[in-house]
């Protein structure tokens, strides 16, 4: 209960001001198409130089929490996820917005983000000593199987045709292989100078989602409006609380998936939302309605991607090992203030460590309050004429892609992928499985290569990759997932052919 004792410094006027600024700034940065949480935190680090360490970390903590949730705003209203974590939110969230339920979707999203976020931070506060060692025990073979588990959901993700879903996933996996391979440094598929640095996941995300939306908005030309602008009907917050709490299954799945994926260093939380969404769909009696604006999908995805925030800091704070790209950036922020995470952190700098953790907790409340307020303003965003909205998104996409690594090549790659995706979309392909491929490719490959070297030095490939409790559990999950997908496909095919006869 030590954390309660350290709440004092969080509730001073200056700390609250910093937390509010971090939260509002984070929500806005997160909601801007093209800005990811990792980048927002990285961009904020220089601001903490001149603050005292505790307050600097409060700013980063609040901003981290808020950007993760803020990414859902553009995912829901514009179908442009702010971060890979929000892809799953876009699937049903945007469908809800199309039905006029944008405000409701945003409210559900912030409420479930809050529930997931608080759960995650509580795990961080109470279970860190127990889980830290467990989190580190994940080796290359386990991460390889986790990536393969992710691959098994590609086919069923946001595609009416499994063949096209898998094909999009393959294109994504191939895109991830472009550039220098990360282990041996061999050049692969560099057919343009812009591809030398490979395809950055954020540049790909922006291009694949934002650019097709921009082009679609302009499809009707000057006078004819073919792009259906979403209408946002007001919705009662209390009703949304009721709806959210009425989905205990989605909340439970989201919480568990988010916490577990957050803990595993290297899985990166980017897939927490997608895995949770997929699981919620499998366990739901209304699974056919997923993708057409199901509240349950939004709740599962958003609970998971905020539940991941707290646990992703467990390996960082206790063992100085960053578990995700954002945690790595936070580590830089800590080090600059001369604070070294590790077993002694809570002994040497309890004030700073607890101020940071408490700011994550308080940040969840602030995120929900300001988030719900933003949900109320959402109607204004979508009332912007399409010509302005499209131009603005284009410019923001360019700035967002550029500022990830200060690279003009990323902008070119982003645009090329975006234009390509627009045409692919016209033929029934969707960006979600493609991006999932881009995320999973490097995780699967680098862990396979590392695992192979370790296995060859040790007991051989089969026993390294396929034996041991953790491997066996993961492999059975992979098998179950494939089995389930095939079974669903067979059932759906029957429905599909009936549908074709009817039309």
């Amino acid at each position: 209960m030590e954390f309660l004792y350290h709440f004092g410094p969080v509730f001073t006027l200056s700390s609250m001001a910093i937390l509010c600024a971090g939260t509002i700034g984070g929500l806005l940065l997160g909601a801007t198409p093209g800005l990811s949480p990792t980048m927002a935190v990285a961009l904020l680090i220089p601001f903490t130089f001149h603050m005292d360490p505790a307050q600097g970390l409060m700013l980063l903590g609040a901003a981290y929490t808020a950007t993760v949730a803020g990414g859902a705003v553009s995912a829901i209203l514009l179908k442009i996820p702010g971060a890979p974590a929000n892809i799953a939110t876009a699937l049903d969230g945007y469908a809800m917005a199309r039905k006029g339920e944008g405000a409701k979707a945003l409210q559900l999203c912030f409420i479930s983000s809050f529930i997931g976020g608080v759960l995650g931070v509580l795990v961080l506060i109470f279970l860190t000593p127990v889980l830290a060692q467990w989190a580190l025990s994940f080796g290359p073979s386990h991460l390889f199987w986790i990536a393969i588990l992710g691959v098994t959901i590609i086919g069923s993700l946001d595609s009416k045709s499994v063949v096209k879903g898998l094909l999009a996933g393959c294109i994504g996996l191939w895109i991830a292989m472009i550039g220098y391979d990360s282990i041996q440094g061999v050049e692969r598929f560099i057919f343009s100078e812009h591809l030398e640095g490979g395809v950055h996941i954020i540049a790909a995300l922006i291009g694949l989602f934002a650019i097709p939306q921009v082009i679609e908005m302009l499809e009707g030309g000057r006078h004819k409006r073919t792009f259906e602008m979403v209408e946002v009907k007001p919705h009662s917050v209390w009703k949304s609380v009721g709806i959210t709490l009425g989905h205990p299954r989605a909340l439970t799945i989201g919480g568990i998936v988010g916490v577990i994926i957050g803990l595993i260093p290297g899985a990166g939380g980017q897939i927490a939302g997608l895995v949770s969404y997929d699981q919620a769909r499998r366990f739901s009696p209304d699974r056919e309605k997923f993708g057409s604006g199901q509240a349950e999908g939004v709740i599962a995805a958003e609970t998971a991607n905020n539940a991941m925030v707290g646990p992703s800091l467990v390996p960082l704070l206790t063992l100085s090992v960053p578990g995700s790209p954002t945690a790595a950036v936070l580590l830089g922020g800590l080090l600059i203030h001369g604070i070294f995470p590790g077993p002694n952190l809570f002994v040497q700098h309890p004030d700073v460590a607890w101020a940071f953790i408490n700011s994550l907790l308080v940040g969840q409340f602030l995120m929900m309050i300001f988030g719900l307020y933003i949900a109320g303003l959402a109607a204004h965003v979508v009332r912007i004429p399409p010509a302005i909205l499209a131009s603005g998104i284009l410019v923001l996409a360019v700035f967002g892609a550029y500022s990830v690594q200060n690279s003009q090549s990323d902008v070119v790659v982003m645009l090329a992928l975006g234009i390509g995706m627009y045409f692919l979309q016209q033929y029934g392909f969707s960006p979600a499985p493609l991006v999932l491929g881009v995320i999973l490719g490097p995780i699967a490959e680098s862990n396979y290569v590392q695992g192979r070297i370790i296995a060859q030095a040790g007991d051989g490939m089969f026993s390294y990759f396929c034996l041991g409790t953790m491997n066996l559990v993961l492999i059975s999950l992979v098998v179950l997932s494939i089995f389930y997908s095939v079974a669903t496909e067979i059932r759906m095919r029957r429905l599909d052919s009936l549908g074709e006869i009817a039309t």
């Binding site: 990285a42 680090i45 220089p46 130089f49 580190l136 025990s137 994940f138 080796g139 290359p140 550039g179 220098y180 391979d181 990360s182 282990i183 041996q184 440094g185 100078e193 030398e196 640095g197 490979g198 260093p265 290297g266 390996p315 063992l319 100085s320 090992v321 960053p322 790209p325 945690a327 790595a328 950036v329 936070l330 580590l331 830089g332 080090l335 600059i336 001369g338 070294f340 590790g342 077993p343 002694n344 690594q405 200060n406 690279s407 003009q408 090549s409 680098s446 590392q450 070297i453 370790i454 060859q456 030095a457 040790g458």
Partner: protein, 318 residues
């Protein structure tokens, strides 16, 4: 047509801005490209040593760190050497021996000939680490075990042909045993796999290992002398009886692309070492277990050349 427009634009810019470049340089923030992921040793040291740049005594403009990680630094340096600006507003952090070894081993777009050093800030020796529960307590233990089990000892490090890998190669050569090198995507994940027990040993940065001492055992330093400031009790490889010298010591500093105006280089070469010497920088670096080693432009130029010659020799028969 595009070329022509570009060329004209470039000409006009030069004509307009040419003579006044150095006088008011820098009049906007300067970026430093770090070829490693955020949170790694190079990244956070670069952030510390450049944090005083905004002071009027030094550059008078802040320095922004831009990370371009991948393939042991190749992605970042390659982009820097081909498309980095030559106006003095785009700097990069170098890691010796990494980029020199890579430029010898691969057909990279960067060599010591198309880059210009500004100043050196740090020297971070490689150390041999094992997990807290490892049965090895000295380098001798590890070598004895490896002799009995050739190729069975897994050793993690950050990528191929980086300082860690050079130290590993020297170690294999000096001990005559065969080990298994497991390259990682940067120092932090490589250290994680040692702490997590995925590999039996690791070569990592002194500064990172120093911070994680509670979950690690540090067996030896790949340097000519012990590090009296941070790890006075850890022997060098030579003391342990293996001929591994300081060739893998990771020198870090700032550089620009060749073609940067000489007056800009001169201005940087004067101001940057002073900035590194700032007491605030020294204090932060010490707290982080990061040894400072400030060298001016001439010293770095000589050091680059020496390393190039040595590494050409070492990597020839590997």
């Amino acid at each position: 047509m595009k070329r022509l427009i570009l060329g004209m634009a470039a000409l006009t810019t030069v004509a307009l801005a040419g003579p006044t470049v150095a006088a008011d340089y820098p009049d906007r923030p300067v970026s430093v490209m770090v070829a490693y992921s955020p949170g790694g040793a190079t990244d956070f040291q670069a952030r510390i040593v450049t944090m005083m740049a905004g002071d009027e005594k030094y550059l008078g403009q802040p320095i922004v760190i831009v990370n371009k990680p991948g393939a042991g630094g190749k992605v970042g340096w390659s982009a820097f050497a081909t498309s980095g600006g030559t106006d003095g507003y785009e700097l990069a952090a170098y890691n010796i021996p990494h980029f020199i070894a890579q430029s010898i081993k691969f057909k990279t777009k960067y060599t010591i000939d198309n880059l210009e050093p500004i100043a050196n800030w740090g020297a971070d020796p490689a150390v041999l680490v094992v997990g807290k529960d490892s049965p090895f307590n000295t380098v001798g233990d590890l070598v004895t075990y490896a002799k009995e089990n050739p190729g069975k000892v897994t050793v993690s490090g950050a990528g191929l042909f980086v300082g860690h890998h050079i130290a590993y190669l020297q170690m294999e050569k000096a001990t005559g045993v065969k080990l298994a090198y497991v390259p990682h995507k940067g120092g932090a994940p490589a250290l994680k796999s040692v702490i997590g027990g995925q590999v039996m040993a690791g070569v990592n940065n002194l500064s990172d290992a120093f911070r994680s001492q509670d979950s690690l055992k540090i067996l030896a330093i790949a340097d000519n002398e012990r590090n009296t400031e941070f790890l006075p009790d850890v022997p060098t490889f030579k003391e342990a009886g293996f001929d591994v010298d300081d060739s893998s010591v990771n020198f870090r500093g700032l550089m620009v692309r060749k073609g940067t105006p000489p007056d800009v280089i001169e201005k940087l070469a004067k101001a940057v070492p002073e900035m590194f010497k700032d007491p605030k920088v020294a204090k932060q670096m010490k707290a982080g277990g990061s040894p400072l080693k400030i060298m001016n432009r001439e010293e770095v130029q000589a050091m680059w050349q020496r390393r190039e010659d040595y590494l050409k020799e070492l990597l020839k028969d590997l």
